[in-house]
């Protein structure tokens, strides 16, 4: 009898099956995921990944008899009052007799939706599928490369830290065997023999002593480890493309931004945050909030704290420009920016902003997205075509062919579609 403890075996044995299953239901699952995202709070995304897909795509048909048709026999336990020949009304709902479970409802159930739970990873995978930072690394990749190191075999020279011990000793052993270096045990045995011979006054003594001398000489001449044995782990430099990006989040936090608008912007950035931290490993995020003056803040303050004041968009742009020059040289970084605002701006600020964008910000950026947040009720009647100061400023720039994308959002249900529009893979291609 054997006892085997399998508990420590790696889990997730049926993971490949799950992946196959998800691939099978991908289309419907994706739709279900996006619908659930519309209803849920963005913060809770993926926390409870319970979705249901129509049973149709994952049906496993078998030849089976139609239940509840034809002549049926039931043998049931627990008779109390029936005698042979009694007539019994059919139980409501057809199918089985006396509530028999002979697969009576198999037919109807198979049409039902199939419920299952996605992990957060799987949920976000489906949720963010085919989104992409537009043009990431497109400009830089070909030009700027750093060098990485990777293992590439062994070498005969190197630093002691990279000494490949087992390799070296393997070489040493084969050399010792090939050159017949006397082993320690042999020497010890011979010494013991000499000691015995000395004690017994053996005539072979001189021979033995000579032999010992010879062997000692030989093991001195053939060292245990020779420089010729040494092997070092070799590392080879290879070009490592830069895929580092920095994302600037600019937000207007002035008094004209209502709670609703801030909420919209917040949702947009959280979505962006999830997306970035998931899709790209080396992405830094800079948060800049502004009223009439701009400051760089951490994430918590950015989303959490309140402030009042006027609105001066260019202040944020100036701040961004400063940070770019100081820390994120466009030569080394892919720079993306997303700005959220209600569109209010001091009208005199327009030309300043335009100039800043055209001359400094946009040339340094891969992509600049502007999100205009509006009232929950949407544009009021009669104001359908109302365009804000900032919108007009940016629109002129966009017309001039600058890499600037702009969208307007009024309701939280629009956030996700707009986000997809801005970062969908198709858009990226269209802009190239």
């Amino acid at each position: 009898m054997h006892i085997v403890d399998r508990r420590l075996n790696p889990g997730g044995k049926s993971l490949p099956n799950r992946q196959r299953f998800l691939r099978r239901v991908k289309d419907v699952a994706q739709r279900a995921v996006r619908e659930s995202a519309r209803e849920k709070d963005i913060k809770d995304l993926g926390k409870d990944g319970r979705i249901s897909v129509p049973g149709d795509g994952v049906r496993e048909p078998r030849f089976a008899r139609q239940p509840g048709t034809g002549h049926q026999d039931y043998i049931l336990p627990g008779n109390k009052t029936y005698v042979e020949g009694d007539r019994i009304e059919r139980p409501p709902g057809g199918g089985g007799g006396g509530g028999s479970g002979e697969g009576g409802d198999g037919g109807e159930n198979s049409e039902d939706a199939f419920h299952f739970v996605l992990t957060r990873e799987e949920f976000l995978d489906l949720f963010l599928e085919d989104l992409e930072l537009p043009d990431l690394a497109k400009r830089r990749l070909a030009v700027v490369e750093t060098e990485g190191l990777r293992r590439a075999g062994y070498t005969v020279s190197g630093s002691p830290a990279n000494l490949a011990l087992s390799r070296t000793l393997r070489n040493s052993m084969s050399r010792r065997i090939a050159l017949k270096r006397p082993k320690l045990e042999e020497l010890a045995a011979l010494e013991a023999e000499i000691a015995q011979a000395e004690a017994a006054n053996d005539p072979r003594l001189p021979d033995l002593q000579l032999k010992l001398l010879e062997l000692r000489e030989r093991s001195k001449r053939i060292p245990y480890v020779d420089p010729i044995d040494l092997r070092f782990r070799r590392f080879e430099p290879y070009p490592k493309p830069i895929a580092q990006a920095v994302m600037f989040c600019l937000m207007d936090v002035s008094g004209s931004m209502t709670e609703h608008m801030k909420d919209l912007a917040k949702r947009f950035y959280i979505l962006l945050h999830i997306f970035l931290t998931r899709r790209y490993k080396h992405v830094e995020i800079v948060f800049i909030r502004h009223t009439d003056k701009a400051t760089e803040v951490d994430e918590e303050t950015f989303f959490g704290s309140r402030e009042t004041g006027g609105t001066l968009v260019s202040s944020a742009l100036v701040e961004m420009k400063r940070i770019v020059t100081e820390r994120y040289s466009p030569d080394d970084w892919n720079i993306y920016a997303a700005q959220a605002s209600d569109g209010d701006n001091v009208s005199s600020d327009g030309p300043t902003s335009t100039e800043l964008l055209r001359a400094h910000i946009l040339p340094a950026c891969q992509h600049f997205a502007y999100l205009e947040v509006g009232d929950e009720n949407g544009p009021r009647a009669g104001f359908v075509e109302h365009r804000t100061t900032l919108w007009r400023t940016y629109e002129a720039l966009a017309r001039a062919g600058e890499p600037l994308a702009m969208r307007k959002v009024n309701h939280r249900r629009d956030i996700y579609p707009v986000f997809r529009e801005l970062f969908g893979r198709k858009d990226a291609k269209a802009e190239v």
């Binding site: 008779n79 019994i88 059919r90």
Partner: protein
């Protein structure tokens, strides 16, 4: 005192010493439990079993095992992922408890036991699976005839790597299509009878010679004067020949496709073969559900009682065992809300106990009904014989006693759609016993439960249309939507049109006809 006893290192448990105390166990305990059970199962019950391999697993691994129909390794397919998701969801919501064990018909016999089980439960599980089921797997004729316990794990290993290689080579999609189609036809992928062995030339000659000699021996000139039959009803010889060549009619549809389908590529045939062999491996289990569980339950009951009598189980442990034993063999009545058909554990265990009673303390009635075994005294001998030579259907037809029918208060209802009400056909009385037992046994005849579908003909020279018949027993037709889908899979594999006619076996009238054309997904 108890604690010090349980800490003894001896592996051979002595009577009167507790095997364990409390709920905790370690490997030493498991080994002791196994040896103690073995001491009962061998000499007292006369069981014979494959060597045991007991594997401890976690709840998650148990779910994993569920998803791949209990086998330790299996090929990958989305449907297993689906079942896993389903079971995991209901397990997490507390709708479903997990089995205490899974046992695999292999040599050595692998029993998976859950780490959460208490020491008592481990004893129960080892007695149940490692000895009860194990004995049944090794000795029952169906398992011996149809399954290869020694080779199954190697075969599954081959199947898994073969399908993985196919996926690499021909793409996930292509393999998935074949597997989908093969799974849909899985229950039509078993041989129900051993195939005729092709005679070799020597035996053929010998038979011919014997036949001639026999003809010479019984030669009588009178036969010559008999008038010959006029106009013998011979069918079309070409048709007969084709049907014979294709071994038609053929009820093993997967086998037929594997051998005959004109357009399948070799790897697709191999996948059909894998699915077919897996189906064949599990077919005996479907046919012996009641007996298999009955055997295992009876064995664990005997072993646990023996252990308790020898003083190797504490009273607390024995009570825990009884609780879970009675839960397992609970049979709700038909009007109970929790009724979901017959519980194979309950029926099996009740029948085994009843047989033991008949053998040891028969009544007059038993002597009339079971003259062969009543009063012979060797209960285990009779039971071992049953376990070896019967399947559920024949076992119930042979051994369900009037007393048990009365105890279970069985009654038989007939639901004929042509009549306004259902009728009580028989109850547990003198007139009902035999009728009811016959119908009851039939409900366990898998060949009777599965729809009877055969490939009857194929027009190889014409449009290559495959013709199948479903013999609609009692005029019960197939579920339309599923039948259409399965037939579509079948046509895809066949590569040309396929038509399924549902025929009333009594009149030969075609009730429903389904047809499907091959989609170009395989070729």
């Amino acid at each position: 005192m108890v604690a010090s006893l349980s800490r003894t290192k001896s592996t051979a448990p002595k009577p009167g010493e507790l095997l364990f105390s409390g709920n905790d166990w370690d490997f030493e305990t498991i080994r002791r439990i196994h040896d103690a059970c073995e001491a009962v199962a061998g000499p007292e019950l006369g069981l014979s079993w494959y060597p045991n391999q007991i594997e401890i697993i976690t709840a998650e691994q148990m779910l994993d095992a569920y998803a791949s129909i209990g086998m330790p390794l299996f090929y990958k397919h989305w449907s297993f992922g689906k079942h896993f998701a389903q079971q995991e969801a209901s397990y997490r919501r507390g709708l479903m408890g997990l089995a205490y064990e899974i046992v695999i018909n292999s040599d050595p016999c692998i029993s998976y036991v859950m780490e959460e089980n208490t020491a008592t439960m481990q004893t129960l599980v080892i007695a149940h699976a490692a000895f009860g089921h194990n004995h049944f797997f090794k000795n029952n004729y169906l398992f011996r005839q149809w399954t290869d316990a020694e080779g199954i794990l190697d075969y599954l290993d081959f199947a898994k790597s073969y399908i993985a290689r196919c996926e690499e080579r021909y793409g996930h999609q292509a393999v998935e299509h074949v597997l989908d189609a093969a799974h849909a036809l899985m229950s039509q992928g078993v041989h129900r009878y051993p195939r005729k062995k092709r005679p070799d030339l020597a035996s053929e000659q010998r038979r011919e010679r014997e036949r001639e000699e026999h003809g010479e021996q019984i030669y009588n000139d009178l036969w010559r004067t008999l008038p010959t039959k006029t106009g013998g009803q011979k069918g079309d010889p070409a048709l007969e020949r084709r049907r014979a060549l294709l071994e038609l009619p053929q009820e093993n549809i997967l086998y037929f496709l594997e051998k005959v389908a004109p357009r399948l590529r070799p790897w697709q045939r191999e996948i059909l073969r894998i699915v077919r062999l897996v189906a064949q491996y599990f077919y005996p289990q479907r046919q012996t559900k009641v007996m298999n569980e009955g055997c295992a339950t009876y064995c664990h009951y005997r072993i646990m009682n023996a252990l308790s009598q020898k003083g190797q189980l504490s009273e607390a442990a024995y009570l825990e065992f009884l609780t879970s034993h009675t839960n397992v063999i609970r049979q709700p009545n038909f009007d109970d809300r929790s009724f979901g058909g017959h519980n194979p554990y309950a029926l099996g265990f009740a029948m085994m106990q009843d047989i033991a009673r008949i053998v040891e303390q028969p009544t007059q009635e038993d002597r009339e009904w079971f003259p062969d075994i009543a009063g012979t005294g060797d209960a285990m001998g009779v039971l071992r014989d049953c376990w070896e030579n019967y399947r559920d259907e024949s076992f119930i037809a042979q051994f369900l006693s009037p007393k048990l029918m009365r105890d279970m208060r069985l009654f038989h209802i007939v639901d004929d759609p042509d009549e306004p009400e259902m009728r009580v056909e028989a109850i547990h009385d003198e007139r009902g016993y035999r009728k009811m037992r016959r119908s009851f046994a039939r409900q366990y005849d898998v060949a009777w439960l599965d729809p009877d579908i055969e490939v009857v003909d194929v027009d190889l020279e014409g449009d290559r249309r495959l013709i199948l018949h479903h013999k609609a027993l009692n005029r019960i037709t197939l579920q339309k939507e599923d039948a259409r889908r399965v037939l579509q899979h079948l046509a895809d594999l066949w590569g040309y049109d396929a038509v399924l006619k549902e025929v009333d076996p009594a009149t030969g009238a075609v009730l429903v006809e389904h047809s499907a054309s091959a989609r170009p997904i395989f070729f």
